[in-house]
């Protein structure tokens, strides 16, 4: 195939494990599990690689298969994956030997994307195949909390993948652009890396857009930086006016989506509205906007969106009664970040959660709040208990406490 035409995310897909970046521990254990197949069937016939998109889950399978000379058979969400299909196609791949006598690895990509209706019975069929497969089965998934994974996680060895750190992403980008004579400014590199947030695939594809499209800095919507700039400008203009009609115009010209507008206003409104009355009015407008967004989502009545913009523009502008306009520095909304961090903290404790939940008789969601925090604080007071807990739940000690490698 003509490699020139391939998107860069495919062109620079790692062909050897050496080229895969990040997640060293998980990848090491994954490789040793793969190698163990050469000495007969290991304890777990299937593994599950879990983590957010674009961090090398599928890539590492391809690369390792290439290194160890395994034949790779892939099934992903674009294939039909109901009970019958899996029983026929996947099962055939799992049972039969390869034509040339090579070992084979079966990749079931994006198993949390199994469709509830169209892929009915898919998980059950996979579970059956895991019991007798003659070849290693590797699955990938994004969302460790997906109910579709519950049964699979019990039967698989689970490896967690985390976002690639910015330095490593930068290294890869520099390496790729080194092969292309085009100049990319340092600022541009930094903005691509920042936007990607550990998603290497997104970073590579942005780099391609910049280099191949020969787009100047201001020409491409490169996410956060530019969004940030337009939001800040819009906020500034909005708080300068007090006339509702002009405010409405400012916001529709700003072309900022309602979600970011709401978050940014929530974070920064108090910088301009300072008296109690102004705050009451402004926050009331904000809460109205939020209320109508909720109504829109519930009824899918998007005609109401126009009012959301009214509340976010006229509502805010008409709230400033006394405080004179002054130029201030706005801060980026924090709470989406907090939610993300909260999730991240939970990541890596999935093994622990899935062991504890059935014992405690509560949901995985609650077991974190109810039990794991307690165990963590016990261990903090008396570190000796760590071993006992680990033994009881038969998990790695690392799972516990703040010092846990992934905790």
């Amino acid at each position: 195939m003509n490699t020139r035409k391939l998107p860069w995310t495919e062109k620079y897909r790692p062909s050897s494990q050496k080229e895969v970046v990040g997640n060293i521990d998980s990848i090491q254990s994954f490789v040793s599990w793969m190698k163990s197949w050469n000495n007969g069937i290991p304890k777990h016939r299937a593994v599950l690689l879990v983590g957010p998109p674009g961090i090398g889950k599928t890539a590492v399978v391809g690369a390792v298969a290439n290194d160890l000379n395994f034949e790779l058979v892939e099934f992903n969400a674009s294939d039909k994956r109901n009970k019958d299909h899996i029983e026929i196609h996947v099962s055939r791949a799992a049972m039969q030997h390869t034509l040339d006598g090579r070992a084979r690895v079966i990749l079931l990509d994006e198993v949390d994307g199994l469709s509830g209706t169209s892929d009915r019975g898919g998980v059950g069929a996979i579970l059956k195949i895991i019991d007798y497969s003659a070849h290693p089965i590797v699955m990938t998934a994004n969302d460790p909390n997906s109910p579709r994974l519950k049964d699979l996680m019990k039967r698989c060895k689970v490896f967690h993948f985390v976002p690639i750190d910015d330095d490593a992403v930068m290294q890869v980008l520099l390496k790729i652009s080194g092969a292309n004579p085009n100049q990319v400014s340092e600022e541009m590199f930094a903005s691509i890396v920042a936007r990607a947030g550990g998603d290497l695939r997104a970073a590579i594809s942005d780099l391609e857009a910049v280099i191949e499209g020969r787009l100047a800095n201001d020409e491409i919507d490169l996410g956060t930086r530019d969004v940030r700039r337009t939001v800040v400008q819009t906020l500034r203009r909005l708080f300068m006016v007090t006339d509702s009609a002009i405010a409405r115009m400012v916001v529709s010209e700003g072309n900022v989506d309602h979600d970011s507008m709401l978050l940014w206003l929530e974070e920064n409104l108090h910088l301009h509205l300072t008296t109690p009355l102004e705050l009451e009015l402004g926050l009331n407008a904000l809460s109205n906007a939020d209320l109508y967004l909720g109504r829109i989502m519930r009824q899918q009545n998007w005609k109401l969106l126009s009012y959301v913009f009214d509340f976010l523009s006229s509502g805010i502008a008409s709230s400033r009664r006394k405080t004179p306009y002054r130029r201030v520095e706005y801060t980026e909304p924090l709470w989406p970040l907090l939610i993300w961090k909260g999730k991240k903290k939970r990541e890596g404790k999935e093994d622990l959660i899935s062991r504890l939940a059935p014992i405690a008789g509560v949901s995985m969601e609650r077991v974190y709040e109810k039990c794991i925090r307690t165990i963590d604080s016990i261990i903090e007071i008396s570190p000796k208990q760590m071993g006992k807990f680990a033994e009881w739940l038969s998990v790695n000690k690392k799972m516990f406490g703040r010092k846990g490698s992934r905790g």
């Binding site: 169209s118 509702s244 109205n288 008409s318």
Partner: protein, 318 residues
């Protein structure tokens, strides 16, 4: 006479013919020049040349082999995962015909695809990127799942400006020999509100009577109220004359046959230009939003509108 919808008959065939959206057209033309294209997401309100841009782009790029390398699917007809796995995948994985560098699939109303279907689309977009580029079209990009958004170059289509629509109306009226008077044109522009499809449909419908297209004809066929009447209704209420404004409301609803939902939306459009102090404006806005929500939920339109008028008539009395 050939029977044809003017929206189709006058749909621009090349990027250069597209009215308005000059920034977007410029960027798309660059892609045609270089014969390359990322996956794209076109988002924007209806009637703003999204589908037209997708088709014109493909036509400019493919020339004679357009038919063989282009497919348009409307996701709201078939929005399940099967359409992605069957129709889309089959089209995407076949090699492009002729000397085309890739094929183009336009997926209209992509925001109506179910989440499962969008997830399935994700991998197809990647796996067959060398043979097929996709243009997803939607009204609200927030209904497209983030992994797909991150794989696309996003183009935001704005509502068309009045002068753009006016020029096009003049052109079509001349081609079709329609007698469009200035007031008629203004009324079409008001009702279209930046939507070219509505504008052309109104023009065609209004001209079908064969007579001159005036504001009266336009408002009569559109089932909407003349904005002058709405302003009259509101200013009467603001002056505190509730009974009289109620009379106007009844005429609009019963005689002119305007639906309550259309009426409330027209009222909403006028609020910003009302002679009200800011505080009253914002309260009126809140009440209008609430009234539209309630009517959409199934509440009685006449009751809600009357209550809204009473609130406006309250005015400085408070």
């Amino acid at each position: 006479m050939e029977i044809d919808l003017w929206t189709e008959k006058y749909r621009p065939q090349t990027l250069a013919d597209i009215v308005g959206q000059s920034a977007i057209v410029e960027r798309l033309s660059k892609f045609v020049e270089r014969r390359t294209l990322p996956h794209c997401l076109f988002a924007g309100p209806p009637g703003t040349a999204k589908t037209t841009a997708g088709m014109a782009l493909a036509r400019d790029l493919f020339g004679d082999s357009f038919e063989r390398n282009f497919m348009e699917l409307n996701a709201s007809d078939e929005r399940g995962i099967d359409v992605v796995r069957n129709q889309i995948k089959t089209f995407a994985r076949a090699l492009p015909a002729g000397d085309a560098p890739f094929k183009i699939l336009v997926l209209d109303e992509a925001d109506h695809l179910t989440n499962d279907a969008q997830h399935a689309l994700r991998r197809t977009m990647e796996a067959y990127a060398s043979s097929c580029r996709m243009i997803l079209i939607c009204n609200y990009s927030s209904r497209i799942i983030p992994p797909i958004q991150s794989r696309c170059a996003i183009f935001k289509f704005a509502r068309l400006r009045e002068e753009n629509i006016a020029d096009r109306l003049d052109y079509v009226a001349k081609e079709e020999g329609v007698n469009l008077n200035p007031k008629g044109k203004d009324s079409i522009l008001y009702l279209a509100n930046g939507d070219m499809r509505i504008a052309l449909n109104l023009l065609q419908a209004a001209s079908s009577s064969g007579k001159q297209v005036t504001d009266k004809v336009v408002f009569a066929i559109s089932g909407r109220a003349d904005p002058e009447k709405i302003r009259g209704l509101l200013s009467t209420a603001i002056s505190g004359n509730f009974d009289e404004s109620l009379g106007i409301l009844k005429t609009l609803l019963l005689q002119d046959g305007v639906s309550p939902l259309d009426l409330i939306r027209q009222i909403h459009r006028e609020i910003h230009s009302l002679e009200l102090v800011e505080q009253d404006k914002r309260k009126t806005l809140e009440r209008t939003a609430e009234a539209e929500f309630r009517i959409a939920e199934g509440a009685d339109g006449e009751v809600q509108l009357t209550a809204l008028l009473a609130h406006i008539a309250l005015g400085q009395d408070e």
